[in-house]
Amino acid sequence: MNINATLIGQSIAFVMFIWFTMKFVWPLLLKGMEERQARIADGLAAAEQGQKDFADAQEKSVTEINKGKEQAATIISQAQKRGDEIVEEAREIAKKEGDRIKESALSEIEQEKEKTRQELRNQVAALAITGAEQILMREVDQQAHDEVLAKISKKL
């Protein structure tokens, strides 16, 4: 228990251990730990950035989808409109065509009617002449005859 040179030995040992720790242990440990700290911080920042990017992408995709939907709706409505137009046009064309056909048919009928009338007139005239010839049973003045016929023909 008495004080002796152990005191000095211990002091020397203490100084040496402090020197060793200061030289070889502390800086290495702290450097390594700081490096790891920096790496972890970087990793966390990267993760956060990734999360943010993901959220951004998600948001972007939603807007894209909405835009697409809108576009699709526009296209559909346009198509509908266009379809309606086409139908309308077709209807118009068809109507016109019908009218034309009808008209031409009518005119044809009219022509046919006129023709038939003319024919009938001629036939009636011929018939009348034949009838008259038979009735008279004689030769009539051809000229007077034709005049009469023309008169009758006009009246018909």
């Binding site: 228990m1 152990t6 402090i18 790891r36």
Partner: protein, 296 residues
Amino acid sequence: MADEAVITSKSYITHHLQNLVYGKLPAGYERDGQILNEATWTFAHSSKEAVDMGFWSLNVDTLGWAIFLGVVFSFFFYRVAKNVSEGAPSGFSNLVEMIVEFVDNSVKDIFHNENKLIAPMALTVFIWVFLMNTMDLVPVDWLPVLAQKLAGDPHFYFKVVPTTDPNITFGLSLTVFALILYYSIKMKGVGGFLSELTLHPFSSKNIVVQILFIPANFLLEFVGLIAKPVSLALRLFGNLYAGEMIFILIALLPFWIQWTLHLPWAIFHILIVLLQAFIFMILVIVYMDMAHQKDH
């Protein structure tokens, strides 16, 4: 153990409290009934011989254990420091890094100057004192009896807890004291340090009164300064010595009943071991901070 020696409680205790001392006995010294012809370097055979060896003798056991534990600390911490990687730490290196971070934070909290010495010193003090204190938890007879068997000498003294030796604790605290003086003078200059010792706590604007105050101030401040290393060493020594003493007393009980006291005291002692190491470290940091502070 020994054939002729009857072990009494007193001899058991005193034997446990005696260091293994290596020193020089003067010529003409009466030893074991013989007179020494010339001065001899030898191990002390009794407490009286240890005292008679004077100052220039060494406590081989406690100093040896202290150095051994310091080497253990240096070796393991150096190995971890060398292999510290950027990856996730595991096992022992995790523990080491936790301790280093804890010490680093303590230093940052308390010490407000730039000095690359303080943190490594705090770490050394903390771990070293902790390891030396932990030797107290090794049952009191294991290592001494082992040493006696190895040495073949039933009287072989062997104290294994370095911090129960005041030489060891004073060795630590006086080194710290030397650093306090060194940094006080380095940071404040001789004049600044002296004025710190003489112009506080009593001060006056009147120069004559101030001069009258100087002796009183110096007395107070000087006692305060000296109290730092003394209290640092005696606190550690006292706690561990008392703990060791109680372990020795418990060891006097019959072996089948010892555990009833030994176990609770050992568990409680874990706290003391750690707490004293922590207090020692914190006080070292505080004293170093005070030494660096320029304005009182």
